[in-house]
Subunit: 197 residues, 2 copies
């Protein structure tokens, strides 16, 4: 009966996936059992635990319907407004969620920002674009970063020269900003644009 188990595990996982897709919330242990043809909740329980141990899903202890699939998507919040004083990751600032494949934008601490202005036009970042930012306090020379200048977030390419920090706009008509120090909010790792109005 060694093979049976693998087969059952697959069935259970598949059912959970379907159930979540259909209902928007996870199934209970008993619902899984009924559908897969297992009469004991204990058996289902061990299967689900096994799936968790193998890393196919997440499971919170003692909570009802608290399994979730390891999806290959990350949910990234769009930050409405960056306020200087408050932490970026405060719920109140979340305007929307975007769900993107994690292979591409993987990792934690991601957020999105709406770009205003055309200072990065030559890097292909236009006014109105939404940039995907990895939150970090530092960045390497030449990387595109989001920095806090005058209490608002600005996107520029970062350089360090002679102990100074240079925020370089990719736009011929604009000139570099030079600082002794600058607060970096994160590094730009992606971008999204909509041509709709």
């Amino acid at each position: 009966m060694a093979r049976q188990k693998e087969e059952k595990l697959r069935q259970v996982l598949e059912y959970i996936q379907h159930y979540v897709a259909e209902n928007g919330y996870p199934p209970s242990v008993r619902e899984v059992g009924k559908s897969v043809g297992i009469k004991s909740t204990a058996t289902v329980y061990t299967y689900i635990s096994a799936l968790r141990d193998k890393g196919f899903l997440n499971k919170a202890d003692n909570k009802k319907r608290a399994v979730s699939l390891k999806s290959n998507a990350v949910n990234i919040p769009l930050i409405g407004t960056v306020t200087a004083g408050q932490p970026i990751f405060a719920y109140e600032n979340y305007e929307d969620y975007y769900s993107l494949p994690s292979e591409e934008f993987g990792g934690d601490d991601l957020f999105m920002l709406r770009v205003s202005g055309s200072s990065m036009i030559e890097a292909g970042i236009l006014n109105g674009d939404k940039i995907i930012v990895h939150r970090q306090e530092n960045a390497n020379d030449g990387e595109i970063v989001v920095a806090l200048v005058d209490d608002s977030a600005t996107v520029k390419r970062l350089f360090r020269r002679d102990g100074k920090v240079i925020l370089h706009p990719e736009n011929e008509t604009m000139s570099d900003m030079i600082f002794d120090d600058v607060k970096i909010l994160g590094k730009v790792v992606g971008l999204m644009r909509s041509f709709r109005t």
Copy 2:
């Protein structure tokens, strides 16, 4: 106390959205209450019921954590390769799925394509970008389209002059392509870029 209610409803809905995005499964009534600052489960219960009645979410009776959001996302397939003979929307060509907010990219018949080449660089469309395309056979003057030229998909701005179709690259170093007729695959409605390797 008339206004309070609307505000609380909004808070509850927002919290549920955040919770689901973070955890993959819905919150319990008590968790909602704790976060929104309502001490009675009964109050939360009425709010959730109200949200269901107003159509903001689905809710199953007597089940734990069985609320689900009315999904506002569209799943858009990334088309691996465009083959001249075969229909674009053949499953075999689907390379991945991207789930994006429908307010922004709403509608059916959307697909994504990977851009190769830099013919649209001045429109902010770079080599390696993924464009979001609405499938349609026609487009208006001045719109950016995906057209089939020599059995492969190309992205250009479309113009019609004197009965001819002009595919105009947004790149100084390249020149227009002029045809009597051209097969249009769709109109570009969005774009996604990843700065990762």
